[in-house]
């Protein structure tokens, strides 16, 4: 338990505002793959008797009466939970600035953001508090903060990890994911978290391999598809150089590198298709947050008013605005033009990526155009290709449900940036191998930001 108490101390003096609730470590006698490991969970993961707020005011006083399946699995393998990490409210954000407990700072540069919505978990790993942290990824909410914080961020295949007990955002896009500081730990963590759970009907029956024992970074003959549409929308020279250096190293290791382009008009729809599907599903998923059975309840003259007051005060402005867009998209007269249109385009995107990954072992691209933006940075033009494609291409992993991970690629101004790879469904073994090859090529492993 010595390692655990050390981590708990570090968590108490966290400088990145990453921790929402500290959890007094409880000895875990189970022996397993996580024996003696302190674990931090994103605060949308239900922990029995431990406050779970999903960073929303309406859940400020919510103490779940059950553990999420992933929590049960962590405990079964000897892991000890020491804290709940900050996140964008209800996981509906990509910056972790919309956390009810305030923004999470990037451990490499406090003037910059950690990225979201699993920012707290990423910062906790990057600042050396823990080696394993759990997050969730609906658009890139594990893989983007992993890039900004210089750590490994994994979103496995949809259905690999049970979502039971994880506060839903958009059920057809949500994945439980996690952060580690190296690929070996990442492969081990999947063995712990994955597996069929009868409480989640979308949970997969596919066999969970011993990934950590099957690691093999020999990429000779592996076909790697460079995501050209992303490259064309990048404008950061340093990022492009880091990326090309990496590709050359992989070539030296015998990998076959080829550029692949998808229909660019289709790629420009990545963000709006995500935004529509996510908001439509989220507005329905959060209809249960009414203050009547749990959560912060405001007074009112009748039931209707109690619910309206509770939801008005309980949700941040960004959330309520996105619910309005979601409801707009679900209304009968708009569904065809908005929600269903987005779902049809999702199928076209998935089909193109599927075809590509039938020929290639993985799709690769920088995880974002730049290192972590400044907290007070100016707003990016949301109609530019840089925003629509470079900053949002990882959502392809959520549309397809394919396994995707981010691994550190290099630094700029002392801050890290990562590279993202996506493989075909349930091909995590191949993904970890390529990830390991990248780790060995860059030499970037077990990075911890100096936190003064």
């Amino acid at each position: 338990m010595e390692k655990i108490y050390k981590a708990f101390e570090k968590a108490k003096n966290d400088k990145c505002n990453a921790i929402v609730t500290l959890v007094e470590p409880k000895e875990n006698l189970n022996k397993g793959k996580l024996s003696g490991e302190p674990i931090i969970l994103k605060d949308n993961i239900s922990t029995k008797g431990i406050r779970t707020t999903a960073s929303s005011k309406i859940l400020d006083n919510y103490y779940p009466i059950f553990d999420a399946t992933v929590v049960e699995k962590i405990k079964a393998e000897g892991g000890v939970i020491i804290g709940k990490a900050s996140m964008d409210e209800l996981a509906m954000g990509g910056t972790n600035l919309a956390a009810y407990t305030g923004p999470v700072l990037n451990p490499w540069d406090y003037k910059r953001m950690s990225g979201g919505s699993s920012g707290g978990s990423a910062a906790a790993v990057a600042s050396g508090i823990v080696s394993f942290a759990i997050g969730s990824d609906t658009g890139d909410s594990v893989r983007k903060p992993a890039s900004f914080c210089g750590i490994v961020g994994v979103k496995p295949t949809y259905g690999r990890i049970s979502r039971y007990g994880v506060v839903a955002y958009a059920s057809s896009l949500d994945h439980v994911g996690y952060f580690t500081r190296n690929v070996k730990d990442a492969s081990l963590m999947l063995e712990v978290l994955a597996g069929r759970d009868d409480k989640d009907m979308t949970s997969s029956f596919k066999e969970v391999k011993e990934y950590s024992k099957l690691l093999n970074s020999d990429v000779k003959g592996k076909k790697i598809a460079v995501f050209k549409n992303v490259i064309d929308s990048l404008d950061n020279e340093n990022t492009l150089n880091l990326f090309n250096d990496l590709l050359n190293k992989l070539k030296e290791k015998g990998a076959i590198i080829e550029e692949v382009s998808f229909d660019n008009d289709l790629m420009r729809t990545l963000f709006p298709v995500y935004f529509i599907i996510a908001n439509c599903e989220a507005t329905s998923n959060h209809s249960n947050l009414d203050g009547l059975r749990f959560g912060v309840s405001e007074d009112g003259d009748d039931t209707r008013e109690v619910v309206i007051n509770s939801r008005t005060k309980g949700f941040g402005s960004l959330i309520r605005k996105r619910f309005v867009i979601g409801s707009f998209g679900l209304h009968e007269e708009n569904q065809e033009k908005v929600f269903k249109k987005a779902q049809r385009i999702r199928r076209l995107i998935v089909e193109e990526v599927k075809k590509c990954l039938e020929e290639y072992d993985c799709l690769i691209a920088p995880a974002s155009n730049d290192i972590a933006p400044l907290l007070e940075g100016n707003k990016i033009d949301e109609l530019s290709d840089k925003y629509l494609i470079a900053e949002n291409h990882m959502v392809i992993g959520n549309f397809t449900g394919y396994p995707s991970m981010t691994v550190p690629m290099g630094f700029e101004k002392g801050c890290p940036i990562g590279v993202n790879i996506t493989c075909k469904a349930f091909d995590e073994e191949n993904m970890f191998n390529i990830g390991l090859a990248i780790e060995e090529s860059t030499g970037l492993k077990d990075l911890v930001a100096k936190v003064d």
Binding site: V306, R311, S317, S327, L383, L388, A425
Partner: protein
């Protein structure tokens, strides 16, 4: 342009209110959103079925009709602001 009244109506349907600034912000954000919608309209989706799940292969799993999980009344009401005689209560503030 999206009408303020319509935005307020959508909010009320979702059981919450919006401040005046928030309504104005939505109107502005809707401008960007509708341009992004135009990007969608450019894509021909004739004969393309909506995709509600990432994996559409059917399951044949059905849960057996066996009681597997009940919680105590105490756990059920643990997070309730108001409860009485084992019931959740929506408390009315009498002005």
């Amino acid at each position: 342009m999206i009408e303020k009244e319509y935005i307020k109506e959508l909010a009320h349907e979702l059981m919450f209110d919006l401040s005046e600034e928030e309504v104005v912000e939505i109107q502005k954000e809707y401008e960007t959103f509708s341009k992004q919608l135009e990007l969608l309209e450019k894509i021909d989706t004739k004969d393309v079925k909506p995709m509600p799940y990432p994996f559409e292969n059917e399951t044949n799993y059905l849960r057996e009709d066996v009681v597997t999980h009940v919680i105590t009344q105490e756990d059920a009401l643990r997070n309730a602001s108001y409860s009485k005689e084992g019931h959740f209560v929506v408390h009315k503030v009498v002005k």
